[in-house]
């Protein structure tokens, strides 16, 4: 795994935490998935068919899921400002601090390169942290996509890649999660005029 790809993945993950425009965030995640997929395909063409499957799945993920999320954004164009959202710098500081702490705590788990291993953990952690620090449902769905990319990054660095069935299972789970999140975001927007998931807490009895 080249340093450019791993750094690209980490930086794009951090960018999703700070950007305000939803379409830009979707584009960043799509680019992240696409980059990872293309790398897998190029590697898979001369290593094993498993990697080729990985690449195909990732390309599908880079096209289908972002398309679904763009569709959701188009349906909920007039996004009201989410008042309780942390400022961008605050989100970035919390996420970087938490990701670094996790990096320090997680022991080596046997990938070919130490850099790739750190990048995989960072992308996974930043994905989960995106879902924590961003209140909009759409960003939370993007956080899961980023975390999934972290897992793929680790899988690509395994000798022989992930087994086909595991990859297909993962992508199926992801499609279901993002589809539900998209439908959920559209419905929240329709009812509350905002995609802020914290507004739902007021519905508790």
């Amino acid at each position: 795994m080249t340093g450019a790809v791993t750094w690209g993945l980490v930086v794009s993950s951090l960018a999703v935490i700070v950007v305000r425009r939803r379409s830009l965030a979707i584009a960043l995640v799509a680019a992240q998935s696409l980059g990872l997929g293309l790398y897998a395909v190029t590697q898979g063409s001369h290593t094993s068919t498993a990697l080729a499957v990985t690449g195909t799945v990732l390309i599908a993920k880079a096209l289908v899921l972002p398309a679904l999320l763009f569709f959701t954004v188009r349906r909920a164009r007039k996004e009201r400002l989410i008042a309780t959202e942390l400022p961008a710098l605050g989100r970035l500081a919390i996420s970087v601090a938490a990701a670094l702490a996790i990096e320090q705590l997680i022991p080596r788990f046997g990938l070919t390169g130490a850099g790739t291993e750190h990048a995989a953990v960072a992308v996974l952690a930043l994905g989960i942290l995106t879902a924590v620090v961003r209140r909009a449902v759409l960003f939370q769905a993007l956080g899961f996509l980023i975390a999934e990319n972290g897992i793929y990054l680790a899988g690509l660095s395994l000798p022989g890649g992930l087994p086909v069935f595991i990859e297909l299972g993962l992508v199926f789970d992801l499609v279901v999660i993002v589809s539900v999140a998209a439908a959920f975001a559209a419905k929240i927007h329709e009812q509350l005029g905002s995609g802020d998931s914290s507004l739902l807490e007021a519905l508790r009895d």
Binding site: L105, P107, I128, L129, A131, V132
Partner: protein, 646 residues
């Protein structure tokens, strides 16, 4: 596969087809008839296996591969299911309407019967536990199919909550037994056996409705349609005792004196508490539900006595007490099934079961009324009916325990004897009230005055059960030796029509019945030959009026006053006075259920308080849960780094 195996399969098939047919066709009548036929086939198969002593199908095994079989004990409990299931489905055939609700209830009835049968035929731990859960869930669904009001929903919630929390004991006991190969292998012994005994006592006693784990029973049983109530009260709670018998008598090595004494204590509390609270009830089905607690208590007394006799080295008396318990389980199934079906018939005829709003139904519904009266006399333990036979046998066992050389055992036996004697007396008191208020006297409302007899299918089912109560009361000796042979030590007892126990004489039930028949015939003849002028009954110089009759509360007031300290009756008298003249007096009295106020109330309040605290943690927000997840991950990683977790 032998003939008995073929009968079991044919019976199960008939019930399954009947359930589907009842649920899918326009009218549930044919499907319910098929279910009734299936129950008869299973009853015949049960008797066959019980009498022959052979086993059909697989034996018990400690793995999870599904297996089914029938041995002597399962055969007996198949008979218990059949003697209530066949008349109950026949009753439902005329009682249920041919609408969506009636069809759904008929389908649920079939599924419930299959769950009960599956439970007694299960031969592995997964099937046993699977049918155990199904047996709990199906009647809950049946209750909600019949009624959707707030009271029904709350009753079902309490039923499911208590039986599932208590039922955890069954899961623990069964899984430990299976893990140690005790199902079908060597009985479990040692310290683990004590743990399993405790778990099974809690688990099975909850479903059996033994005090103090009974609180769901008087809430749930009255809510169900009559034939489901009959199955729940007559059969389902007995199958919990079947599970207890399997664990304590077969899968555990002799569990020790303390288990027998505990079972006797719980039984004594249940029979006395059950009948006492039954006396204070003003609604017929709720009253009958409390009597189920009483009778399950009597069965527990017998089982506990059997364990104690086994421990002090008296195998013959252990077998007699065991047989007494099983005989009472069968007898209770018969008369409680009869009484619940009778209550259903009255409800259908007059539309309500408040005791103070019934009356005069024996004259207007003679078939139902006489069958109900017979059931009431049987549950009250009057000779020569079946309740008397099994209570007499249980009493003999307890009396014999009272003269044991071990002081603690003798004391337990004496206390248990006193509890059973007191229970028998109070049961007579209670059913004098029931017969007087429901069947005799003047009708207390127009619906009772206009009541007419129910259709022939409903009547036939009640007459069958009443006849069985008489038959088992007159000829209990035909069954007792077979039941004793199922118990510990496989003791052979003397066979005969009556009851013959060593050392304490015998009960010549047939001669007693004949003597009573002659006495009754003589009295009837004497009464008919009497010449008296027809005149109105003397009621303080005025014609009889419904308002002057005994009320439920009035009848039991002497007992309430005597036991006021224990029962803690709440009374309220409101006198409306206008211009110095008393215009109205309103009197309200309530006997609170002490187990609810002193035990379940504080426990449920504590649970709700804890839930309130837990709710603060449960925000419902995805972000919060992710923070919890990350925090947990961080703590675990830090612990791993510092070497605490290896």
């Amino acid at each position: 596969m032998g003939a008995s195996g073929a009968l079991v399969l044919a019976g199960v098939l008939a019930i399954a087809v009947g359930a589907l047919s009842a649920g899918l066709s326009r009218s549930p009548r044919t499907g319910l008839m098929a279910q009734s036929v299936g129950m008869v086939l299973l009853g015949v198969a049960g008797v066959w296996v019980l009498a022959s002593g052979h086993t059909v199908g697989a034996g018990f095994r400690s793995d999870v591969r599904p297996a089914f079989g029938v041995d002597g004990l399962s055969g007996f409990f198949l008979l218990v299911i059949a003697v209530v299931g066949a008349p109950a489905t026949l009753f439902a055939r005329d009682a249920l309407e041919a609408d969506w609700q009636g069809r759904s209830l008929a389908l649920a009835t079939g599924v419930f019967l299959l769950a009960l049968i599956g439970f007694v035929c299960a031969r592995d731990v997964s099937t046993f536990l699977g049918f155990w859960e199904l047996m709990t869930l199906v009647p809950a669904g049946a209750i909600l199919l019949g009624r959707q009001d707030r009271e029904a929903r709350h009753g079902v919630f309490v039923y499911l909550a208590i039986t599932h929390i208590g039922g955890a004991g069954v899961w623990v006991a069964m899984l430990v037994l299976a893990q140690h190969g005790a199902l079908g292998g060597h009985p479990l012994g040692g310290g683990l056996a004590a743990f399993v005994a405790c778990a099974s006592l809690v688990g099975f006693s909850t479903k059996a409705g033994l005090m103090p784990l009974h609180s769901w029973l008087p809430r749930a049983h009255p809510l169900a349609p009559a034939h489901i109530s009959a199955l729940m009260s007559g059969v389902m709670i007995k199958l919990a005792l079947y599970g207890l018998v399997r664990v304590l008598f077969q899968w555990l090595a002799p569990p020790g004196l303390w288990v027998g004494i505990t079972l006797m204590a719980v039984g004594a509390l249940s029979c006395l508490g059950g009948v006492l609270y039954a006396l204070m009830q003003h609604e017929l089905k709720r009253l009958l539900a409390f009597h189920s607690i009483e009778n399950v208590g009597i069965v527990a007394l017998g089982l506990g006595a059997s364990l104690v006799f086994g421990d002090i080295g008296q195998p013959t008396w252990s077998a007699i007490a065991f047989a007494a318990a099983l005989l009472h389980a069968l007898n209770h199934a018969l008369f409680k099934g009869l009484l619940f079906l009778g209550a259903g018939a009255f409800s259908k005829a007059v539309g309500g079961l408040e005791l103070d709003r019934l009356g005069g139904l024996l004259l207007r519904m003679p078939w139902t009324g006489w069958a109900f009266a017979l059931g009431a006399m049987a549950i009250a333990g009057l000779p020569p009916l079946n309740g008397f036979a099994s209570e007499w046998l249980t009493l003999q066992s307890l009396l014999h325990l009272g003269v044991a050389s071990h002081l603690g055992v003798a004391l337990a036996g004496a206390l248990a004897t006193a509890a059973l004697a007191g229970t028998a007396a109070l049961a007579v008191y209670c059913f004098v009230k029931v017969i007087g208020l429901v069947l005799l006297g003047l009708p207390r409302r127009a619906e009772c005055a206009q009541a007419s007899e129910v259709p022939v299918g409903m009547r036939a089912s009640m007459v069958f059960l009443a006849a069985a109560c008489v038959a088992l009361g007159v000829l209990p000796g035909l069954l007792v030796p077979t039941l004793a042979a199922l118990g510990p030590g496989r003791v052979r007892l003397h066979e005969g029509a009556g009851l013959n126990v060593p050392g304490t004489g015998s009960l010549p039930t047939l001669a007693l019945a004949l003597a009573l028949l002659v006495l009754v015939a003589g009295l009837v003849r004497l009464a008919r030959s009497r010449r008296a002028a027809p005149a109105p009954t003397w009621v303080c110089g005025q014609p009889p009026a419904a308002g002057l009759q005994w009320t439920s509360a009035g009848f039991t007031k002497p007992l309430r006053l005597v036991l006021e300290t224990l029962l803690r009756t709440r009374r309220e008298v409101q006198v409306t006075v206008s211009s110095g003249v008393v215009e109205a007096v309103a009197y309200e009295a309530e006997v609170p259920h002490l187990f609810d106020t002193l035990l379940y109330g504080p426990v449920s309040r504590g649970a709700l308080h804890a839930a309130g605290i837990a709710r603060r943690v449960q925000s419902g927000s995805l972000r919060t849960y992710l923070i919890y997840l990350l925090a947990l991950l961080g703590v675990l990683l830090a612990l791993a780094r510092t070497g605490v977790l290896r």
